[in-house]
Structure formats: C-alpha cells, structure tokens
C-alpha cells in the first residue's frame, strides 16, 4: 500500500522536474529560485527511486511530457503551472503520510510535503495571489 503511494509521489516529482524545466524560459527574473526548485525535486526523485528499489519495486519511469492544467505561454501562466505542480506534490506526499507507519518514510514524506508547500507559497507570492499561503497543503480544498 505504501509502495503504491510512493510511486504516485514519484510521478508528481517527475512532473515537477519536467515543469521546472519547461517554465524556466518564461521566468528569467526568478532563474535562481527555479534552479533551486529543480535541484530539490531532482534530489527528491532520486531518494524516492532509491526507496522503491530498496523495497523491491521498480520505480515508474517519467512520462515523455506532462500537460499543465492551463497552457504556459508567459510569466504568469508559468507561475501558475509551478503552483499547480507543487500542490500536486503536496497531495501525493500527504497520501504517503496517510499510508505508512515506517518512521523514516514518514519523516521524508513530511519534509517533501512541507518544502513543496513553502515553494508553492513562494510562487503564489511572486504571482501576487491573495492569500499567498495554503492553509492545508495536500488537501484538495486547502
């Protein structure tokens, strides 16, 4: 059960990495923050794949491309895509939290959920969204 949820989380990490790569052309002013987000998602993807292999599962490969909820053609739509992919990541890692009693996995899922929520907030701030904060990251209505 936890393996399945970790595969789902890995899927959102693949999507996040792809999205950060795709939006970088539109966010020159935030290049450093985009690069940082990329690096952190790459690290998370690697540790997640390692966890799956250690638990006898084959990590799901990334898709060739992903479809953001809205087309990305400029700075604001690029920020919206980043917010969306970080919120997907929050939901997936919250799903892991709810399905494991393994304390190591839980700690890393909590860290992934928290850092994704902070990045989503940062992008919402950059986009001028109000409120910038997300009250319950990982919950559809939050």
């Amino acid at each position: 059960m936890s393996v399945e949820s970790v595969q789902t989380a890995l899927g959102t990490e693949h999507a996040a990495l792809w999205t950060y790569g795709m939006v970088s052309a539109f966010l020159n002013e935030q290049a450093a923050a985009v690069a940082e987000g990329s690096t952190l998602h790459r690290a998370r993807r690697d540790t997640t794949e390692r966890w799956l292999r250690d638990h006898g599962a084959t990590p799901n490969p990334p898709a060739a491309a992903y479809l953001p909820p809205a087309p990305v053609s400029d700075g604001p739509s690029a920020l919206a895509a980043l917010v969306a992919v970080e919120q997907d990541t929050c939901a997936a890692w919250r799903g892991v939290l709810e399905r494991t009693d393994d304390s190591g996995l839980r700690t890393s899922a909590l860290e992934a959920l928290t850092t994704a929520a902070v990045r989503a907030t940062r992008w919402r701030k950059a986009a001028g969204s109000a409120p910038a904060s997300i009250t319950m990251p990982g919950v559809a209505s939050g």
């Binding site: 959920l113 928290t114 902070v118 409120p131 910038a132 009250t135 319950m136």
Partner: protein, 181 residues
C-alpha cells in the same frame, strides 16, 4: 514420581496458558497415569493461583485516565496563534494567519472530539486577550516556527490516519511562515 525436577517443570509450565490446555502426557504404566493426572490438576490449581493476581493486574491497568490527546495540544496552540494574530493588526498578513490558524484549530479539535466525544461541560476556557508584544512580526514568526516544530514532531508518533491531517497543518504553518519571510 514426585521429583525436584517435576516441581521445576510445573512452575515453568504455569507461565504459559496454552500449555495448561494440553492433554496429560501419555505414560507407559496405568497406575502412574493417575498420579500424573493428579499432578496436572495440581498444576491447574497452581496456575489459577498464579494467574489470579495477573488477571487483577490486567483489569486494573486501564483504570487511570488515558494520556491527553496530542492533537489537543496542537489545537490549543492553533487557537492561541489565531488570537495572537487577531490582536496584531499592524502586520499585513495577520488576518490571513488568524484565519488559517483558526481553521487548523477547528480541524484538529474535530479530530480530537471524533476520537473522544467531549462531555458537554468541557468547553475550552474563555481566552484572555494576549498582551501586545513589543515586536508583533517577530512574535508571529516565533509562534509559527514553534507551530511547525510541534506539528512535525507529533507526526511521527501518530497513527497513519492522523498523520496526513497533522502533516498538512505542519506544512500549512510553514506556508504561513513563508508569507512572513
């Protein structure tokens, strides 16, 4: 038949409940069988005597009140943060923080009440307005840092079905902290 070794084995046997239900060991001689069955019944008596205080101990165990629900402390903390933020109108994001922490408080309290339905009299004590701290922004930052820390520390010790809720509260506080960054 009655050897010192027999006495020792009886004491050992008495410690396992399942053993007491095993049939008496088969013996070659019939007259010895009677002695053994007597010895088994003595074992049962010994077992009953030995188990009686155990049974009392087992039933007495749950009588002290259960430890306080860890989510109850988190809910109280969220209520306190909401009150603090409400009082600090000079901080631009204070209203947002007050609203979010009030939501956290009601979600956590709902889970506490679901697990242990409250008696009608246990209403949280009426809050006293917190004194306005000299540096409102720093006070809110400290409160949110503390909230992230407390919720995160609680997540690891919770049953899985509660870990998601408290994990989202921790991440929500980190998000609020980022608004103040």
């Amino acid at each position: 038949m009655k050897t010192p070794a027999d006495g020792i084995s009886a004491t050992v046997d008495d410690q396992t409940i399942s053993f007491a239900r095993l049939p008496p060991r088969r013996t070659a001689a019939g007259n010895m069988g009677r002695v053994i069955s007597e010895s088994v019944s003595r074992r049962r008596v010994l077992f009953a005597v030995a188990a009686a205080p155990l049974a009392v101990a087992c039933t007495a165990e749950p009588s002290p009140p259960p430890p306080p629900d860890p989510l109850s402390a988190l809910a109280a903390q969220a209520r306190a943060d909401a009150r603090l933020a409400q009082a600090l109108t000079t901080v631009p994001a204070a209203a947002e923080i007050a609203k979010a922490r009030a939501t956290h408080a009601s979600l956590l309290q709902a889970e506490v009440d679901r697990e242990r339905p409250p008696q009608s009299s246990t209403v949280p004590p009426a809050p006293t307005a917190p004194p306005t701290p000299p540096d409102p922004l720093a006070a809110l930052r400290t409160a949110l840092d503390e909230a992230v820390r407390e919720a995160s520390a609680t997540v690891t010790s919770l049953p899985a079905y509660r870990a998601g809720l408290v994990g989202s509260v921790a991440a929500g506080c980190a998000s609020l902290r980022e608004v103040l960054a």
